[in-house]
Symmetry: C3
C-alpha cells in the first residue's frame, strides 16, 4: 500500500519536456533569430511602449464643467449682456449664444391671419386643405381672411399677431470678441486622482490670458472668434443661421510620470458639419417671455432665436503600472517568441536542401500496423518500439 | 579567440524544433483533423466574420442632437404652441412636452391656509406636529385657521393662495399628432468620419415624410403617437401622469464597406417602466412665471406640469480594417490550431488500443538515477544516454 | 490513381504529437507542479472568480434620472420654495439649488456709471483704457461721470443701474434640511433587464425614509446636509460661493444570481474640489426676469445666483454566464498550464546536477554537414539518420 502510494507520488512529481531537434544550419538559424527579433520588437515597441500594456487604464473619467461667457453685443442698437443672449443661464457644458433673434411682441391669444406665404388663399376651400397642418403658426380654422384688397390668408387660432420669420435682420455685433471661460475638473475614480484645467497657473495668468493652441495651450479662456476660426468657420457664417461647435477637452494621463504632465488638450469641431448644405441647416429655437396686462390678461413676446450652440465634451483616460497586466503580457511575449518555429518549420521541411533528411530527423513514424504487431508478443518488434527502456 | 567567437556565433544561429511522433492511425487522425476544423471554423466564423477581429473599432462616437417639436394643442380651450408646452426650449437631446398643467395664478408672498387635506386641524396643536414638514406648500407657522364653519387648515407662510394639486383636469388634446424632428450628426474621431441622419434624402422627402420602422426607417420626423405606440404605450396613458420615453439612435458602421451603408437605427423604450406601478409614478415638475404689479410687488403664476420627457440617446461604433489586430488574431488562430493535440493526446495515450505502445513511443524516460550513473564514467550507460551522437 | 488518392487521404489523417522526455527528478518535478499550481490558482482565483471571465458584460447601461427637491428656505426674510430656488426646474440629473442671490431690480436699458471699483476715474482718459473690457457691467463709452463730490466712475451703456456684486449678504437659511428625491431607472440593453432604485420598498417606506449609508442604504431620499457631510463639506461652506456635488449611482449586477441582489450603491464627491483654493472658486451664474411697464418698455430684474449644483451620475455593468467567453478562457487556462515548462527547462538544463546529461537527452543535433553527407548516398550515414524506419 505504502509503496503504491509512493509510486503514485513519484509519478506525479515528474517533469515532461519536449524532445527537440537542434538544427545547426545557418540559413534556418538566421531566419529563426530574425523572426524572434521581430516578435520581441513588436512586444517591446508596440505592446509595451506604445500601448502601455503594463498599465491598468481608467477610462471612466468623471467630469465637471462650468462655463461662463463674457462680452457685450449690440442688436438692433440695443445693448445685450450675458443674461440676454445666453441660454440656458446656469453655465453648464452645453450653452447657446443667441446671435439673431426674431421678436414678435405683444402676442395675445385669439384669431388672426397666418403670416406665412404658403397659406395664401382666395376662398375658404384653399384653407381647408391645410387643416391640421403643423407648419402654420397656429391651428388652421378653415376660414380665409382678406388682409388687403387683393390677397387673403388662412385664419389661425393662435397667439396673435402671427410671427413672420422671413424677416432679414443683421445678427448681433461683436460676438467674435465674447470670451468663454471653462472650468473643468476631472477625477479618475480607479486611482482617485483629481485634476483641474487651471493646472498651476497663477490668478493673474488665468484672468488675463487667451487660449492659443501654441502660445497658450492651457489657458481656460477662449475667444469665440478664435474658436470658430479653429474649426475653419467665421462668426459671420454661423451667426445668421446658427450652428453647433464642439469643444473637446482630452485628458490622457500617464500616472507613472509626474502628475504635472497630466494636462488637458483642447480641440474644436463644427458638430453639425454634415448639415451645412442640407435643407434644414443651422440651429434655432423658439421661446416666449410672458407678461400680464393690468387686468390680468396674459400676453407674451415670442422669440425665434438663431444661436451658436457650444458643447464642451470631456474625454480622458489614465494609466498606471500594475503587476497583473504586466505579468500577463510578459507571459504572452515569452510564449509568442516560440511562434517563430511555425514559419521556420515550413521552410526547413519544404524549401531547404536536404529537407527530406530533416523530416526524417524531426518525425518518428508509428502506424497502427506497428502497434498491432507489437501487441502480438513478438520479441523483435517489442524491442524496437521501446528505445527508452 | 576568433574561433571562440565563431563558435558562439554558430551556437547562436541554430534552430531548435520539437521532435515529433507521427501517428498513422485513422481514429486519432480523424479526431485530430475534426478538432482542427472546429478551431478553424471558430476563428473564421466567430472571431473574423462575426466579431470582425481584423478591424480596429471606434466606440467613442461624438454626437450632436438638435430637436424641434411641431404641433398645436388645446388645453382648457386655449391654444398651446411650442413656446407654451416645450421645456427646455433650446431643442437639445432631452426635452419635455407638458401635457397637463395645474396653474395657480396670482400668488403673492404672505400667510394663508394650506390647501392639502393632510393639514386639516381643529386646534393649533394639530399643526405643531407638522412644523418643519416639507410636504406642505409653505412653512408651517403652527397656527390653525378656520376656512369654513366646521373645518380648519394649518396656516403656512408661502406664496398664497396655496396650490391645490388634487384638481382633476383633462390633459392637452392632440399631443399624439405632434411631430418630433431630430437632427443628429455623429463623428468617429478615430477615423474622422462624419455622418448625419438625413443621409442622402432630398429636401422634399425630409419635409414630408413620417418615420415608420419598415416603410420609412430613415425619416427623421416622428409622430408622438407613433413613438408611444412603439413602446406599447398610448398618449392617454402618459399624458395624465407624465413619463419618460427614450429614443435610441444606433450607428453601427463598417467603414470597409460603402459609407452609404452606415445608417442610423431608431428604437424606442419607456425609460421609467419600472416605476409605472410604484407609489411615485409619472413625471412632473413645478416652475413659475414672475410678474410685477404697477407698484412693483412681485407676484407669480405657479405651474405644476405633468410632462412626457423625451431622451434622445445616441450610441455607435465603427470598424475599419487594420493590420495590427489582423496579424495578432491570425497568429492567435494559427497557434490555437495546435491546441487540438491536447485532446488527441488524451485519447491516444489512454483510450486507444495500443495506448501503452504509443506512450512508449512518445515518452522517453530519464531519471535521477540514470543521470547519477552517467556522471560516474561508465562506458555502458554513457552510450545509451546519447543516442543523437 | 485510386491508390494515389488513398495515399493522400492516409497522409492527411495522421496525427502529429511532440516526442517528450519524461524527467523523473524530484527537484524539477516539484518546481513543475508548483508552477502549474500557481497558473491554475491565477486562472481560477483571478480570471474566473474575481474577473468573472465566464460572463459577457454589458457596460452600456441606459439610465433615466428624475429628481425632485423639497423644502422651504428663508432669504432676506422672504419665503423661498422650489419654484424660486431650483434651476432648471424640470428635475433632470443636473440641477442647482440657489443659495445666495444678488438681486438688481428694475434695470432699464440706458447709460449709467459702472458699479465696480476697478472702473474709478477722474478724467475720460482713465476710461479710454477700459474700452472693450468684458469685466464691466456694460459697454464702456469712454466718458467719466461724477458720482459724488470727489469720486468718478466710467460710464457704461447697459441695463441700469449696474449690478454691484460685492454686496455681502447671508445665504438662504435651512438649505441643509432640503431633501432630494431621486428616481433612477436603468436598463441593460444586452440582457433586456430593467431595474429601478426603489427596489421592493413599500410606498410608506419610500415616503418616510432618509438615506443613510449603513442604516438605510437604498432609500432614494437624501437630505442636502447629509450629502454634503459625506463629501466632508458643510452647507455653510458651499452656500456662500457655490459649488458642485456629484451623486454617483453605481449598479454592478451579477445576473447569474438573484435579480434582487442587483442594487444601487450611492456615493458622493465634491466635483469642483480642485478649484476650492483657486482664483475662481465656487459656482454662480446670472439670469434675468423680464417685465414690461404699462407703456410697453421692457425692464428686468437681474439675478446673480450662487448655487450648489448637483450632478447625478449613473454608471453600471451587468454580467451573465455565456459559453463563448467561458470556452475561450478555459482554453487559455489549459494552454497556459504548459507554460511552466519554459521556466523548468531553464532550471533543468542549466542549474541542475547532470544538466549536460539532460541536455543530451532533450536535444538531438543535426548539422548542415551531416545533411550534406547524407545526401551523398553512403549507406552508413543514411541508416543513422532514420531511426524511425
Amino acid at each position: 500500500m505504502a509503496s503504491l502510494m509512493r509510486g503514485w507520488v513519484t509519478g506525479f512529481f515528474t517533469y515532461e519536456t519536449t524532445k527537440s531537434v537542434v538544427v545547426k544550419s545557418w540559413s534556418v538559424g538566421i531566419i529563426n533569430r530574425v523572426v524572434q527579433l521581430l516578435i520581441i520588437t513588436y512586444f517591446v515597441g508596440w505592446v509595451f511602449i506604445h500601448e502601455k500594456a503594463y498599465q491598468v487604464t481608467d477610462t471612466g473619467v468623471e467630469s465637471s464643467v462650468m462655463t461662463k461667457v463674457k462680452g457685450f453685443g449690440k442688436y438692433n442698437d440695443l445693448v445685450m449682456d450675458v443674461a440676454d443672449y445666453i441660454y440656458p443661464p446656469q453655465g453648464t457644458d452645453v450653452f447657446c449664444i443667441m446671435t439673431r433673434i426674431i421678436i414678435t411682441e405683444n402676442q395675445f391669444r385669439g384669431r388672426c391671419p397666418e403670416a406665412r406665404k404658403d397659406f395664401q388663399c382666395s376662398t375658404d376651400a384653399d384653407c381647408h386643405k391645410h387643416l391640421g397642418s403643423v407648419r402654420a403658426n397656429g391651428i388652421i380654422t378653415g376660414a380665409c381672411i382678406d388682409i388687403s384688397e387683393s390677397k387673403g390668408r388662412c385664419e389661425i387660432e393662435a397667439w396673435c399677431p402671427a410671427e413672420n420669420d422671413k424677416v432679414k435682420n443683421t445678427p448681433m455685433a461683436n460676438v467674435e470678441n465674447f470670451t468663454i471661460f471653462i472650468k473643468n475638473s476631472i477625477r479618475f475614480p480607479l486611482f482617485n486622482v483629481t485634476r483641474g484645467n487651471f493646472l498651476s497657473m497663477s490668478e493673474k495668468q488665468i484672468k488675463t490670458c487667451t487660449y492659443h493652441p501654441e502660445l497658450n495651450p492651457f489657458c481656460p479662456i477662449f475667444r469665440v472668434g478664435d474658436v470658430l476660426s479653429y474649426t475653419n468657420h467665421t462668426v459671420d457664417g454661423l451667426a445668421e443661421q446658427g450652428g453647433e461647435i464642439g469643444i473637446n477637452i482630452e485628458w490622457k494621463c500617464n500616472l507613472d510620470r509626474n502628475i504635472e504632465n497630466c494636462v488637458p488638450r483642447y480641440s474644436f469641431t463644427r458638430m453639425d458639419a454634415t448639415f451645412t448644405s442640407s435643407p434644414s441647416k443651422g440651429y434655432n429655437f423658439r421661446f416666449a417671455k410672458y407678461f400680464k396686462t393690468e387686468n390680468g390678461t396674459e400676453f407674451r413676446t415670442l422669440h425665434k432665436a438663431y444661436a451658436i450652440r457650444f458643447d464642451v465634451m470631456v474625454t480622458g483616460n489614465a494609466g498606471k503600472f500594475s503587476t497583473i497586466p504586466t505579468l500577463i503580457n510578459l507571459v504572452a511575449a515569452f510564449t509568442s517568441i516560440g511562434l517563430g518555429t511555425v514559419l521556420c518549420d515550413i521552410i526547413l521541411l519544404n524549401f531547404l536542401k536536404g529537407a527530406d533528411q530533416y523530416k526524417a530527423k524531426k518525425f518518428e513514424e508509428v502506424s497502427d500496423a506497428q502497434i498491432e504487431a507489437s501487441i502480438t508478443p513478438s520479441p523483435d518488434s517489442q524491442s524496437s518500439l521501446k528505445p527508452g527502456e
